[in-house]
Each structure stands twice: as structure tokens, then as C-alpha cells.
Symmetry: C2
Subunit: 211 residues, 2 copies
């Protein structure tokens, strides 16, 4: 199946909303309600779900539980994915705290760092291991994905260990975009970009209001 990136993002967002609805005892939801929560159109929601082959009884809306399972069948791996974080700073700690006990099909199983204050300790239930042992531990712990949260100035140095260790996906939060060989999925995500985008559209809004 060839699903666009943006649809994958929205499916992940829909599922999170549906899980919240399910927790609150809501059994059915209309496409326009789901759309409203996410600030998009009902047409968009229906198009996304049609794309993954989901159809539903439209009289009562979508069955929340059935839709959660359906989206999970698309997004999730058959076996849970093990994730490692490189660089156990504030961002990494925010992410691990956030993930703890979320019941996702992904688990942060280790953090790697070089700081003697952190290495050998367990932070938020995650063992912090020296970067020198990266390749060995990735194999040992069966890690598939890394989150790169180290300082930008050392980001490039992480490429070779990541490739050598056989990592399949990288979420890069440093401000240096990294390229990996074909077959390794990489998402470069600099928070500055998000803020600059918001700032730009704020400026454009004000300009329009001034007209």
C-alpha cells in the first residue's frame, strides 16, 4: 500500500483522539466530529480512511473501537519496536517521560550518552549506556529505531555508528540535517523550523489584517 506521509501523520493523530474517546466511553464518532477536533474537513477524514480501505456504517458514525484496531493494523508493527535515544538531555527526558506507560507498540529501551554523570545510571526507568557500547547494545536489545537528541555539533559523528549497528529508522531532532544510505528511514526535525513557521504565518495574518 502506498500511503502519503501526511495521511500517516493524520492516522496517528486520529488514533490518539479515538483512544481518548474510547477511554471516555464514547463508542461512535462522526467524521465531521473527528475532523472538528483536528481542525480539518470531514472530507479529508473520509478520504484518509477510504485510502486505507476503511468503510463504516455512516448512520451512527464510525465505531471507535473498530477504527482504532483498523488504524493500528496499518501503523503498528506485528511485534513491538524497540527505540533508543542518543543524548540523554532535557529533550530525551521529555520524550521518555512522555512515552512511559502509554501502551504504545513502541518502547524506549535504552539511552546512550558520554556524560559520566549519566552513564551507568537509570533515568526514568531507562538505562543510560556509554556511546562506545552502542553497536553491541543495539544488537543485544534488538533496537530498530533511534531518536537523535544529542548536541548538533556531534550529530554527524553518529551517522557511522547508526549505520553500522543496523538501525532502520532515525528521528533526528538536532539542527543538522543528516543523510543516510537507502533503506534507512530518516526524519529530520528541528523545533526551530516549527517556531519559524508559526512566526511566519502570524506575520502574514497581521499583514492581511492591515490591508
Amino acid at each position: 500500500m502506498n500511503i502519503p506521509e501526511k495521511t500517516i501523520e493524520r492516522l496517528s493523530e486520529y488514533r490518539r483522539t479515538l483512544l481518548r474517546c474510547h477511554k471516555e466511553g464514547i463508542t461512535h464518532i462522526f467524521s465531521h466530529v473527528l475532523a472538528g477536533i483536528h481542525g480539518i474537513t470531514a472530507v479529508q477524514v473520509r478520504r484518509d480512511l477510504m485510502l486505507i480501505g476503511f468503510s463504516s456504517d455512516t448512520k451512527k458514525g464510525y465505531d471507535v473501537e473498530v477504527l482504532i484496531d483498523f488504524i493500528s493494523g496499518i501503523l503498528d508493527s506485528p511485534t513491538p519496536l524497540n527505540i533508543a535515544i542518543i543524548g540523554m538531555g532535557h529533550l530525551a527526558q521529555a520524550i521518555t517521560k512522555y512515552f512511559n506507560g502509554k501502551g504504545l507498540k513502541m518502547k524506549i529501551v535504552a539511552a546512550f550518552d558520554v556524560d559520566p554523570e549519566k552513564v551507568g545510571k537509570t533515568i526514568d526507568d531507562i538505562p543510560c549506556i556509554h556511546m562506545d557500547d552502542f553497536e553491541r547494545e543495539v544488537e543485544h536489545l534488538d533496537i530498530n529505531i533511534v531518536v537523535l537528541a544529542c548536541p548538533t555539533r556531534v550529530a554527524s559523528e553518529m551517522v557511522i555508528p547508526i549505520v553500522n549497528a543496523g538501525i532502520k529508522g532515525v528521528l533526528n531532532f538536532t539542527s543538522k540535517p543528516l543523510n543516510f544510505p537507502l533503506g534507512i528511514v530518516v526524519e529530520n526535525y528541528d523545533i526551530t523550523t516549527l517556531l519559524e513557521k508559526v512566526a511566519y504565518f502570524v506575520k502574514e495574518n497581521e499583514y492581511r489584517n492591515d490591508l
Copy 2:
């Protein structure tokens, strides 16, 4: 000018790379080099720059300094933007640390929290103020944009203070998507989505390799 969101994101990324080049003493850069750094095609780079009306001497490539100034003219506000962070946890501290001394046209000037351990203190040079004083301080400090980094369970409660305070843009990192009245720019960004996206494409890659 009507520039698509994705182009704005890329312009922000190009500029960061150009600033790094400039620092390293590089005066000119070809579109295919800039493209390679970002893992995209030269056609995409040229299309983005054409869209903002930038043309250059293609024999030597783009003049790095001129292009930085040109992109800045598009992205930046004429006056620096003041940003506040709501919720001074690990994520907020990662962001403020990251921003300190970057020389951007945006500045994080205050953090808001309710934790008595944090309120009244200065963390990473940012004063941490009680949420009760939000509206007053937003006016006093001339804040335009907020980064929402509070726990998800209280995210909805922030909407009214944000609207009342006259905030123009919101970058929401909680896992609850929020809607704001027209005229307020909002970007909902849940890190889980990014990880689920990487995980999905890793799974798809493996599936293709198995064929």
C-alpha cells in the same frame, strides 16, 4: 505572497544550513549541494527559491550571504518576536537551552508554570512566572507566540487564557489537538506522531525487502 507551508519549512531549513556555511567561510553554494544536504532534489530547491522571487548567478551558485538575507526578509518579522513557554518541564528547558544565543529574530522571554518549585525562579535565564499572571505579563512583555509544553491533561484549560491575552500564534506540543478562533495560528505537534511515522516507514521498507 501565498507560500505553501512546506516551502516555509524548507526555507527555514535552508537558512540554517546557509548560516552554518557562512560561519565556515563558504561564500557560494550550488542548488544541488544545498539539495544534497537536505536530501531533496535541486529542482525542489530552485522551485522554492523561484517562488519567493530569488534568482542568482548560476555559474558560481547562490551567494550565501545574499540568500540568507533574502530568506530572512521573507521569514522574519520586522521586529523581534517575543515567545513564552507554558509548562517549564524538560521539553521547555530543552527548547529554551536550544534557543539561547542563537541570534534568531525570536526570543523566549518568559515561562509560565504553577509549580511552586519553579515559579519565581530564573531557569536558563528565563523568568518563570505563575500562570495566574499570564494575561498581565503577556501584555507587559509584549509576547506574541506561546509554546505549549504543559501536561496534556491541562492543555484545554490553556485555550481561554491564550485567547484572552491576545496571543497570535501557538505551537502545541501536548498530545491534545487544540482549536483556536480564526486569526490565531496554531501548529499541533505531538512527538508520538513523528515516531509512529518513522516506525511505519521502517515497517514498509522491511515489507518491500521481503518481496
